[in-house]
């Protein structure tokens, strides 16, 4: 009966109570939404590269190697020689190896030289392979395959010409050797979407007339001649490696790290991703803190609503007192009402969250490549909801105690 009366009292103040519940619901949806985005982002981040056992590059830091080789952020401090690459490729533990050559750009996008094996070996999101949305992978020397974001941003279609710029912030174009778009990749949500992929030989081809980072004055080798040339690179930026047996990963990593011919670094992508996420995690913590504060603000709003309703409810409390309710029963009623508001808000919040996820999931995936999983609430989320209800009951103690004191003073003889 008391629960029914509490619900009735809430219904009688439907507008203010509804607004309070909505505020709690939105804050809960935001908090859990941030949690979903956080876990989704973490999963997407971890899924940027999958199925690659080692990444090898010139010796630097593991995070730096990961950043430039996978995320196309920053630059390599040095390259690894083609001899070292071949030496590693010839090792018995190595199942496959894919070279990566970075350095040039097209508009704001990085150009990556590699072999066609990249399309077969590069995996993301738990082993998902790259897929061609339109066209085909490179067949000719000056063919290029572009990521989905490159095509969408620049409005490129199959057959469109592309001129690669030398370096990352250069005004000098390799305009004498334009590329032709042969394929556009499907969206992956990884840095591949923002990459212009050409063959390793093409990288060499556009640098035929270049020496020491500058074009040789007066020299312009015809394309037909370039096509006849032996276009073997002198160095590559990094390489992705798959081993025959997982048991051999650490042995191969140690061997590469102790490679005597040149200082190299081999990293485990998963470990480096974790290191990188720890750095990014500071922002994650800040995001959780902000959304947590939104929940606290909503609960304080509820407290203010209860406070503001106390005066108009003095008669109601006096009726309870007249019927024999102790002041603490009045206190309990207000706490129960607050807990009900918080509980309804929490349930509505989770409903809003799942509705939002259902609507936003495909759009977020398409726009940002961020996959937000729609799964049953986790135990952690359950505890969050329980925590919101408990916190609602706790903050309501402040106005409830005020009501307790008022009902002690008023007794049953309130005349307002």
């Amino acid at each position: 009966m008391i629960l029914r009366l509490a619900l009735g009292s809430l219904m009688a103040r439907a507008l203010t109570v509804g607004m309070t519940i909505l505020a709690i619901a939105l804050s809960v949806a935001l908090f859990l939404g941030v949690e979903k985005v956080r876990t989704g982002a973490k999963a997407s981040f971890a899924d940027t590269i999958s199925g690659t056992d080692l990444i090898v590059g010139a010796r630097s830091g593991s995070v730096q190697l990961l950043l430039y080789s996978v995320f196309r952020i920053g630059n390599a401090t040095n390259n690894m020689t083609w001899e070292s690459y071949q030496d590693i490729a010839a090792r018995p533990e190595v199942d496959w190896i894919v070279p990566i050559s970075l350095g040039d750009s097209h508009r704001q996008f990085r150009v990556m030289g590699t072999t066609n094996a990249f399309f077969e070996r590069y995996k993301y999101r738990s082993g998902q392979a790259l897929a061609i949305a339109d066209g085909a992978i490179m067949e000719e020397l000056f063919d290029t395959v572009i990521g989905a974001d490159v095509a969408a941003t620049l409005g490129y279609e199959i057959g469109d010409p592309i001129v690669v710029a030398h370096g990352l912030a250069s005004f000098i174009d390799h305009d004498d050797q334009p590329f032709r778009i042969s394929g556009i990749l499907e969206k992956t949500g990884t840095p591949v979407d923002r990459t212009v992929i050409v063959s390793l030989e093409a990288i060499e081809a556009i640098h035929v007339d270049w020496q020491g980072g500058a074009r040789t004055p007066g020299q312009s080798t015809p394309v037909d001649v370039i096509r006849q040339m032996q276009l073997e690179p002198e160095a590559v930026t990094a390489a992705l490696i798959g081993v025959k047996s997982r048991l051999q990963v650490f042995g191969l990593q140690r061997a590469i790290n102790e490679y005597p011919q040149e200082p190299l670094l081999a990293i485990l992508p998963g470990v480096a991703l974790q290191e990188l996420w720890q750095i990014v995690g500071i922002a994650e913590t800040a995001l959780i803190a902000v959304s947590g504060m939104v929940v606290v603000t909503a609960l304080i709003g509820m407290m203010a609503t209860i406070f503001s309703s106390l005066n108009e409810r003095r008669r109601e409390m006096a009726i309870f007192r007249a019927m024999g309710a102790r002041p603490r029963a009045v206190l309990s009623l207000l706490v129960l009402e607050a807990a009900l508001m918080a509980a309804i808000g929490a349930i509505l919040g989770i409903a809003l969250l799942y509705l939002g996820l259902t609507v936003a999931q495909p759009r977020v995936d398409a726009a940002f490549g961020l996959w937000l999983p729609i799964e049953a609430p986790t135990l952690r989320e359950f505890w969050v909801l329980l925590g919101v209800v408990a916190a609602g009951a706790i903050v309501s103690l402040v106005p409830a105690f005020r009501a307790y004191r008022m009902s002690l003073a008023d007794g049953m003889m309130v005349r307002i």
């Binding site: 009735g8 009726i319 007192r321 019927m323 024999g324 309710a325 102790r326 029963a329 007794g411 003889m413």
Partner: protein, 233 residues
């Protein structure tokens, strides 16, 4: 409680409002017998509300005894006084004394929630509530209606049903007819007297309307039973 034990007995009661030294109430003697109907007449500010609060135990006198059904409620703790009030006193207020958002049934059953002994006297609370509504002339479908949707006269009948349920030995009515028109007033009083008699309850009604005196066994003037102290401002 013996048959000759008064239902209400105030002896040498002295009360001063805390922080209001200008007002005090002294009641040397006031006694109400079982099944008696008493009209307590008094002007505004004569201390009627303070007297009701003392009888109901929401305030305690500085000295003296307030006995209800043989128990000195002034000697009880605050919590036990609340429980005692719920068990032994049925209250009817002037107006707006129902929970407007609750159903008529919930309003009538509310005192039983805080009074287990009174509840035990009502084997079937819902049936009893329905019967009380019928006896007080409320329409059959009123029991499920929201109290706030009823007319003022109907609300007052619901308040009477709430006070009567579980047959408390003492009914206190604080100006229950002041918001009613003359015809409704008479009907309500007749119903209230009939039900009070049927339940064997003592009725103490507080009013400033001396015209009601003919309905009661006895009329008590506040001025006759109290020594009200008002200090000069």
């Amino acid at each position: 409680m013996g048959t000759d034990t008064p239902i209400l007995d105030l002896k040498d009661v002295r009360y001063r409002w805390s922080g209001r030294v200008s007002f005090g109430l002294d009641i040397p003697d006031l006694t109400l017998q079982a099944a008696e109907t008493v009209l307590l007449l008094g002007e505004s500010g004569s201390g009627k509300s303070t007297l009701l609060s003392l009888i109901c135990g929401t305030i305690a006198p500085q000295s003296g005894a307030v006995s209800v059904a043989g128990t000195d409620i002034a000697s009880l703790s605050a919590g036990r006084r609340d429980r005692f009030r719920a068990e032994h006193i049925g209250l009817i207020f002037q107006q707006f004394n129902l929970l407007p958002y609750a159903s008529v049934l919930d309003n009538i059953l509310l005192p039983l929630r805080f009074a287990p002994q009174r509840r035990a006297r009502v084997p079937s609370p819902q049936d009893t509530a329905r019967m009380l509504c019928q006896d007080l002339g409320l329409p059959d479908d009123a029991i499920a209606a929201q109290a706030g949707t009823l007319s003022v006269g109907q609300q007052q009948r619901v308040a009477a049903a709430r006070a009567l349920i579980g047959a408390p030995p003492l009914l206190i009515a604080d100006e229950p007819t002041s918001a009613l028109d003359a015809a409704t007033q008479a009907t309500f009083l007749n119903l209230l007297f009939t039900q009070a008699r049927a339940h064997g309850s003592t009725l103490l009604m507080v009013s400033h309307d001396a015209r009601l005196a003919t309905h009661f066994n006895r009329v008590v003037q506040m001025a006759d039973i109290t020594k009200t102290h008002r200090a000069a401002a």
